[in-house]
């Protein structure tokens, strides 16, 4: 009996020691669940710097940020990747970041560098846009809506069979949902956006909680074959539809509406967490994320665009992915200040 106990204790101990505390130094990167990267890219950094990388996936962006904030006194990671411009000011207010300005930022457009105060580094961006079912619009001889105002027209309200044409996500539970809400605020201003939403509601719009429901259950051009031919998703989703098609496709079944202020540009940042014991390695990793190899890897891994202008896009992106020319922009400080109130006001209007 005693032997068995010893054995159990040994197993437990060995499992404890399994946790990555080996002789080689490690760099821990806290990310959200959607983070993805190719194996050889990770290997490349590890061999160049004689370090092993540990990725700490910490739920969605909100959960990850909470985690970083809640553990800021004894940080669990050296680098945080994935905080976006809807959460950025909150992160900066909590003083979780060590300032760092990467030399590679010279390759990044000025648009991405505003209001950062050297705290975080932009890595990639993506546009939250309305995707539409191309086949639906062509077979119904319906013009593609070009502006948010167009969405209030009756022809984009409900189909002849009574089903609403647009599905959006709840901004309280979904980050594309929140991004789209911000796009409407950018377009109509704080005074006018609720009026737009009221109009949208009267015209018929479906609200669901999360992106997967909206895309896979409600959207008509996804494999879910839902009822709504328009969905709030990403401008890169059409490219993903081709890459992840269940039978080879020559052109995507979907496309994005890229009018003025119809898209909200989500920028994702990386930052060094205060209290890191690997400051120089963390800086090197930030540089690495901005460098061409990582930047060219991320489109097909995360369906986002690189911020580094020197990075070339994969052919599928060149062909199918779209980016908005005039995305909606809001000041992160304003977002941080008003975010909760906007969500609550929106909830009262849309989900009474």
């Amino acid at each position: 009996m005693k032997k068995r106990f010893l054995f159990l204790a040994l197993v437990l101990l060995s499992l404890v020691s399994c946790s990555p505390q080996s002789s080689q130094s490690t760099l821990t990167v806290m990310t959200h669940d959607s983070f993805a990267v190719s194996e050889d890219v990770v290997k490349a950094f590890e061999t160049q710097n004689k370090v092993s990388l540990v990725f700490l996936k910490s739920g969605d962006t909100g959960t990850m940020l909470n985690r970083a904030v809640l553990t800021k006194d004894s940080p669990q990671a050296d680098v945080l990747y994935g905080v976006d411009n809807t959460f950025l000011s909150r992160a900066i207010e909590e003083y979780i970041f060590e300032p760092y300005t990467s030399p590679l930022l010279v390759n990044v457009s000025e648009d991405f560098k505003e209001n950062l105060a050297g705290k975080v580094t932009p890595i990639n961006f993506g546009d939250v846009c309305i995707n539409y079912d191309r086949q639906f619009f062509s077979s119904h001889n319906l013009a593609i809506p070009q502006t948010l105002d167009d969405l209030l027209k009756s022809e984009y309200g409900t189909s002849e069979s009574g089903a609403p044409l647009l599905v959006v996500e709840n901004p309280a539970t979904s980050s594309p949902g929140l991004a789209f809400l911000l796009a409407t605020i950018a377009e109509y201003g704080e005074e006018g956006y609720l009026e737009f939403w009221r109009g949208l509601k009267n015209n018929g719009v479906v609200v669901v909680n999360d992106w997967d429901t909206a895309y896979y259950t409600n959207f008509s051009a996804s494999s879910g074959k839902g009822l709504q031919p328009m969905v709030v998703s990403y401008a890169t989703s059409p490219a993903a539809e081709v890459i992840y098609a269940s039978s080879p496709l020559t052109e995507p079944p979907t496309a994005s509406i890229l009018g003025v202020n119809t898209c909200f540009r989500q920028v994702e940042y990386a930052g060094i967490l205060k209290g890191t014991k690997n400051l120089s390695m963390a800086q090197r990793f930030i540089d690495f994320m901005l460098d061409v190899q990582f930047q060219e890897d991320l489109p097909l891994q995360m369906f986002m665009y690189p911020v580094n202008q020197n990075a070339s896009l994969p052919s599928e992106f060149e062909k199918y992915a779209q980016a908005a020319d005039n995305p909606a922009v809001l000041d992160p400080a304003l977002i941080s200040e008003k975010r909760d109130q906007w969500i609550n006001d929106w909830t009262e209007v849309m989900l009474p």
Binding site: M1, F35, G226, A240
Partner: protein, 564 residues
């Protein structure tokens, strides 16, 4: 099988060693993280709007009451049929009714979507029949969906708890009532229901507890129009980052669930264990009259539609391609394919985080195995402690139920706050997942093993001792054989709970080692038909593994009373 030497750990003495380990588990891995996060939450200065409490509270209570009533209404006839009749495929149906109870909400939501979604099989068939392109059935994002999913999940509790008590009820009592002039319905009302009052109350409270803390079902199937306390905690904490508000809601939810668990343990502990359990099959017979045949048929049909069909729909979805023909919209063509299963084994994007399905399966099975060891050890020790010292049961029993009733979101954040440095570090400490699962499985183990242990008369131990058996030999040769079935059954149950658990795992599983439910969720969060198909394929694999485990559970437990 792990065997615990009870003498070695002080069974003969005060019994403290028996309840110390489970209590430590609870203190370290539940109260410590919960306390830490609550302290953080209430130290913050976020703005509090008390007006935001009443709506979710009212909705939580309302939907829980309604769901519980409906689950009872649906479950009692099923309990009756299972406890009084023999019929073909009875064992198979029993197995299948248990399956939903352990499935993660991701899978359940996918199953209902595959069956009743806008392009679910039912709508596809109806659209074909009615020659329309508009799905006639709207199910997702309705209040009905929440209620149906709650019945889907919890009907097994009513069937198990009430059904086993009903099977123990002397059929002559019903016959007596009829001879004395009571119609079958009158006899049900005047004799059977009063006698089953306690098991019905026990199952109702347990169902209510699960419905009260419902999260995934409300979020995924109910949609944005509905928010329980748990959903509000989620949005407040993770989306609005209002931790103080989340703390207040957590405290409110915890207060309610403590009340429920205290009441529950009070009611369930007074439940008498029959001294001479009825023999297997006594009182059960083939349906005789046509009324009985119709009742059995209707109940089984209902259970099949509710419990089996959504899972079959999901499995069917994983092997079929749904392609709208590009030329004619609305026409959906289907074809069979195994692509989604094959694709599971290919790392097409050379992703660093790619996890082969076998790996996720191994992770799930490993965690489930460790959970089984920890929770059966802790649960059995507790059961012994409770038999030996009833006063410990009085205060520890409601406490071990608490992990069910506490907010999973808050507890998840608690793990992050409490365990953020070696040796125990959320995300990298591999034992955290099975320990969290064990906290959930432990009360079930205790409740399954406890009746078996307390049914062993003291005279049995004494006569074995007189015959020269040492306490250890008594345990090995007398007690263990008696409690073996309950013990093994509780172990399999712990195993399956771990397999299906998603909420806590998503917070603490390390990214390189996801479990099956976490892997399913990953596939669901990317666009593309292939991703969706792979999620369905993996969900089907999970259903099959869980099904096999439940089948084993049934086999080991026979017709005997189940835990909970």
């Amino acid at each position: 099988m792990n065997r615990i030497d009870l003498r070695g750990i002080g069974f003969k003495d005060s019994g403290i060693a028996l309840w110390l380990f489970p209590l430590l588990l609870l203190l370290v891995f539940f109260f410590f993280p919960m306390g830490s996060i609550m302290a953080v939450m209430f130290s913050r200065t976020d703005i509090i709007d008390l007006g935001q409490i009443w709506h979710p509270l009212g909705f939580t209570v309302g939907q829980a009451v309604l769901s519980t009533i409906l689950t009872l209404v649906a479950g009692l006839p099923a309990a009756f049929v299972f406890s009084r009749f023999n019929f073909p495929a009875k064992g198979f149906m029993r197995t299948l009714t248990m399956l939903p109870f352990i499935l993660p909400t991701v899978v359940t939501a996918a199953g209902f979507n595959a069956l009743l979604g806008p392009r679910g099989w039912i709508n596809l068939a109806l659209m074909d029949l009615l020659e329309t392109s508009i799905p006639p059935v709207t199910f997702l994002n309705t209040f009905t969906a929440i209620l149906v999913a709650h019945i889907f999940y919890n009907i097994a509790i009513v069937i198990r708890v009430v059904g086993s008590a009903w099977a123990q009820l002397d059929p002559r009592l019903e016959e007596s009532a009829q001879v004395l002039g009571a119609s079958p319905l009158r006899g049900l009302r005047e004799v059977i229901l009063p006698l089953l009052k306690r098991p019905i109350l026990v199952s109702a409270l347990l169902v209510f507890l699960f419905d009260f803390t419902s999260f995934g079902v409300v979020l995924m199937l109910g949609g944005p129009g509905f928010a329980t306390l748990e959903v509000s905690i989620y949005t407040q904490a993770l989306s609005l980052l209002n931790l103080r508000m989340a703390g207040i809601l957590t405290l409110l939810q915890l207060t309610c669930t403590i009340g429920i668990t205290i009441f529950y343990t009070k009611v369930s502990s007074n439940q008498t264990v029959p001294l001479f359990p009825r023999l297997q099959g006594e009182g059960t017979h083939l349906p005789r009259t046509w009324v009985q045949k119709v009742i059995v048929l209707i109940v089984m049909l209902f259970l099949f539609l509710l419990q089996v069909l959504p899972l079959c729909a999901l499995a069917a979805r994983s092997i079929s391609r749904l392609e709208a023909d590009r030329g004619e919209r609305g026409e959906v063509k289907t074809g069979l394919t195994l692509d989604f299963y094959q694709e599971l084994f290919i790392n097409r994007q050379q992703s660093y985080f790619y996890v082969p399905p076998v790996r996720a399966m191994i992770n799930s099975l490993f965690y489930a195995g460790v959970t089984m060891v920890i929770s059966t050890a802790a649960g059995t020790m507790l059961a012994y402690a409770f038999v030996k010292k009833p006063w410990i049961k009085r205060w520890l029993d409601p406490l071990i139920m608490l992990p069910f009733g506490a907010s999973a979101v808050t507890l998840g954040l608690g793990f992050i706050v409490a365990f953020n440095r070696p040796p125990i570090e959320a995300g990298s400490f591999p034992m955290l997942v099975p320990i969290a699962h064990s906290l959930i499985a432990m009360p079930f183990v205790m409740r399954t093993v406890h009746p078996a242990i307390s049914s062993i008369p003291e005279s049995l131990r004494q006569s074995a001792a007189v015959l020269g058996a040492s306490p250890r030999q008594v345990w090995r040769h007398v007690e263990m054989p008696i409690i073996r079935r309950a013990f093994i059954a509780s172990a399999v149950f712990a195993f399956t709970i771990s397999l299906g658990e998603f909420g806590a795992t998503s917070f603490i599983a390390s990214p390189k080692n996801p479990t099956l439910p976490v892997a399913i969720y990953r596939y669901l969060s990317q666009p593309g038909a292939m991703n969706y198909g792979q999620a369905m394929a993996m969900a089907t694999i999970l259903i099959v593994i869980c099904g096999i485990s439940v089948w084993l559970l049934e086999k080991l437990q026979g017709e005997k009373y189940a835990g909970t």
